[in-house]
């Protein structure tokens, strides 16, 4: 049977130890452990292989205050193509690697840091595939976890709040729910506007990872930097935290609530918009955004909630993001009342 041949093939592939292994990367099924891909020099994934490019985003999705370390691997001889609006056009064989860490105190995230999970997004020949890997306690191996996991985490938040909660590693289907784009799945973070800081895109171009880059690249403001206008920061927050589902080809398209950075229609952004299928998620409130009144806006109600069936985003967080809620409340509060 075909499956057996794939297995034999994988066994051979696992023997070679020189950097990322394209056969494992492009295989039909996810490898059993993260180490099998050869993306790191060591099984504990502390030393990235030479072609792994570290990167970071202007703004990052809130995931229960976890710290995230990101790499992109682009196969030798290939380059990504720039896109002004959508995710960069990465070639087949690209792997996006994101490791989630906690430390006992997230005000000093490097002290005593330990890995929880590593998520891979792999550009296979027929599209992107998501594969979650969960680290063991000893931090020696990360195993493929198609159904995710729930893990107890105790830490102190960057704002000094003591936290003790059950962290949820999403399952493979939940990965797809957020990464959906029409019938395909797509990376969320690496869009030009969200990579455009610290000359990151120019550096990628110089290293041959990215094709031509225009002289003017769009950018989103860092949400915590109050030097930027409130409205732009709020929209940037919604863009990275909500728009992966709330876009016209996303998982929440049927809601009619569209929160992408480029959206300009006030009703589609939620201003004066009635809920569609919110059920008790509406919290007895009539409008997604009531200008000038965050307390009667469904948007803030759902962001503040930690209850399944009400809480938004539905996936990827157990805790409420107090700072994000505060930003959106401030934005709605500053809107002129009708």
């Amino acid at each position: 049977m075909r499956g057996v041949w794939v297995l034999v093939f994988l066994l051979f592939a696992a023997c070679s130890k020189s950097g990322p292994d394209m056969q494992v990367i492009l295989a039909d099924k996810p490898a059993p452990t993260l180490a099998d891909y050869g993306l790191f020099e060591d099984p504990a994934a502390n030393v990235p292989s030479t072609r792994m490019q570290a990167y970071d985003l202007v703004n990052s999705l809130f995931t229960d205050y976890a710290a995230k370390q990101r790499f992109v691997y682009i196969p030798k001889g290939k380059t990504a193509k720039y896109d002004a609006v959508d995710t960069l056009d990465f070639p087949v064989g690209t792997v996006l690697v994101k490791t989630f860490h906690y430390a006992p105190d997230m005000r000093t995230p490097d002290a005593g840091a330990y890995k929880i999970e590593t998520r891979l997004l792999i550009h296979k020949r027929d599209g992107w595939v998501a594969a979650p890997y969960v680290w063991n306690k000893e931090q020696t191996v990360a195993k493929y976890a198609p159904i995710g996991a729930r893990l107890q985490v105790q830490t102190t938040s960057p704002e000094g709040e003591k936290l003790d909660f059950t962290y949820a590693v999403p399952n493979a289907n939940q990965c797809k729910t957020c990464h959906q784009s029409g019938h395909d799945i797509e990376p969320i973070g690496p869009k030009a506007r969200n990579l455009n800081h610290k000359s990151q895109l120019e550096n990628w171009h110089e290293q041959g990872l990215l094709g031509d880059v225009p002289s003017t690249i769009p950018t989103v403001p860092p949400i915590h930097d109050t030097a930027f206008p409130l409205g732009a920061r709020a929209r940037a927050y919604l863009d990275i935290n909500c728009a992966h589902c709330h876009k016209s080809d996303g998982s929440a398209s049927n809601s009619g609530l569209m929160l992408e950075w480029g959206e300009t229609d006030p009703t589609r952004i939620g201003i004066g918009k009635h809920p569609t299928a919110a059920g008790r998620g509406a919290g007895g409130l009539r409008l997604v955004i009531t200008p000038g009144n965050p307390d009667t806006s469904i948007l803030t109600y759902r962001m503040q909630s930690v209850e399944p069936g009400i809480a938004m985003p539905e996936l990827g967080r157990i805790l409420a993001h107090d700072e994000g809620v505060e930003l959106i409340r401030e934005w709605i509060g500053a809107m002129p009342k009708n």
């Binding site: 198609p146 159904i147 729930r150 059950t166 949820a168 399952n171 493979a172 289907n173 939940q174 797809k176 729910t177 959906q180 019938h183 016209s248 998982s251 398209s253 049927n254 009619g256 006030p266 009703t267 589609r268 004066g272 918009k273 009635h274 809920p275 569609t276 299928a277 919110a278 059920g279 008790r280 998620g281 509406a282 919290g283 007895g284 409130l285 009539r286 409008l287 469904i298 209850e307 399944p308 069936g309 539905e314 996936l315 157990i318």
Partner: protein
Amino acid sequence: MIKQVLAAGVAISVLAGCSGDKTEMTEKTSRTILMAEGADFAARLQTALITADPGTTITMPAGTYTFSDGLSLDVKGVTLEGAGEDKTFLDFSGQKGAGEGLLVTSSDVILKNFTIRDTAGDGIKSKGADNITYRDLTVEWSGEPDTSNGAYGVYPVESSYVLVDGVTVRGASDAGIYVGQSDHIIVRNSLAEYNVAGIEIENSSYADVYANTARNNAGGVLIFDLPNLPIMGGHSTRVFDNDIYDNNTKNFAPPGNIVATVPSGTGVIIMANENVHISGNRFKNNRTVQVVVGAYQETFDDAKYNPLPRNIVVRDNSYVDGGDDPQGMMAALAAGMGGKLPPIVWDGVTSWGGGEAVDVNLSIHEGDDVGFVSLGLGSYPLDPSKMRPGMLRPKGAAKAEPTPITLAHDFLNTDK
């Protein structure tokens, strides 16, 4: 453990090309995964739903299984079946995550013979899942109808070719069976009770709703079209041969949702939809009104949206009791008419946004003894002080009925 059993045979179909000498060989392997009861059922079931090959049948044994997270399925052609609605129970009363009990995002899926209980959000949602079959399922929230129950029981959305057959939904705080932004739909042989809305077809086209029972909801069957949604302009729906009675449960929907405006005691509501045919239904004892036809009532900002019902046919239904105790916004309107409403009520709205009055073409073909009233409200937004009730039936020319919906995956479709 999951036993993988190769089903009766590996079908090998050999397709010979007609225009050349090429021979294409397709190997189709159909598998059955038999779920055993016991520890870690939830984790094993979710694993099976993720790792199953397309075309697999996953069978769940009799028993009650608890879940702390939502289930999801994204593999094409999977059948998920239990040992029976009264034997296999998926219990979500301890659910800690996800917006629904089961989310289906792949096509050609069949769900049958099990019960889902007490999900935190919706019961079963299928999105962008064409050719789906919901058969002989129960989705319910236990206890008295409660605002904190999930919104929708069975919730196909943005899908084509949807079949809901023999499904029971109880206790949904919005609609029991809700089909939204979809097309080519059959809802039949189903029971919706103790929901806010029994069956709701919203922003959808080409739907046949028949041989169902909608009872003890706040509203029995709703055919709606709402603004500011990706898919609008719902049309071509037939609602026939249903039993729609005793829909007198108080409206327990959370305010803010459109169904929260549905007066308790309503049989059928047609709102802002086109080419809707209500025929051969048996209405009984819906205390507010048996059938109401009206415009969307909220303010909206959407140039593409038409808030009026158009080309509506109401014919050959039977009406017993009802209309004697109007509730909600209908109570105030009925006050001027002796506090009671006839079986069929039209709001009489023919224009909106200052536009010209249009002929909405409402056709009523019922016995002379079936009462009708137009509230004569004239224009939108509604102003009760402008009410000009009239008992004269509009003389609309009945639009021809849409052709019956047939679905290729429907075993009652004898053409296949």
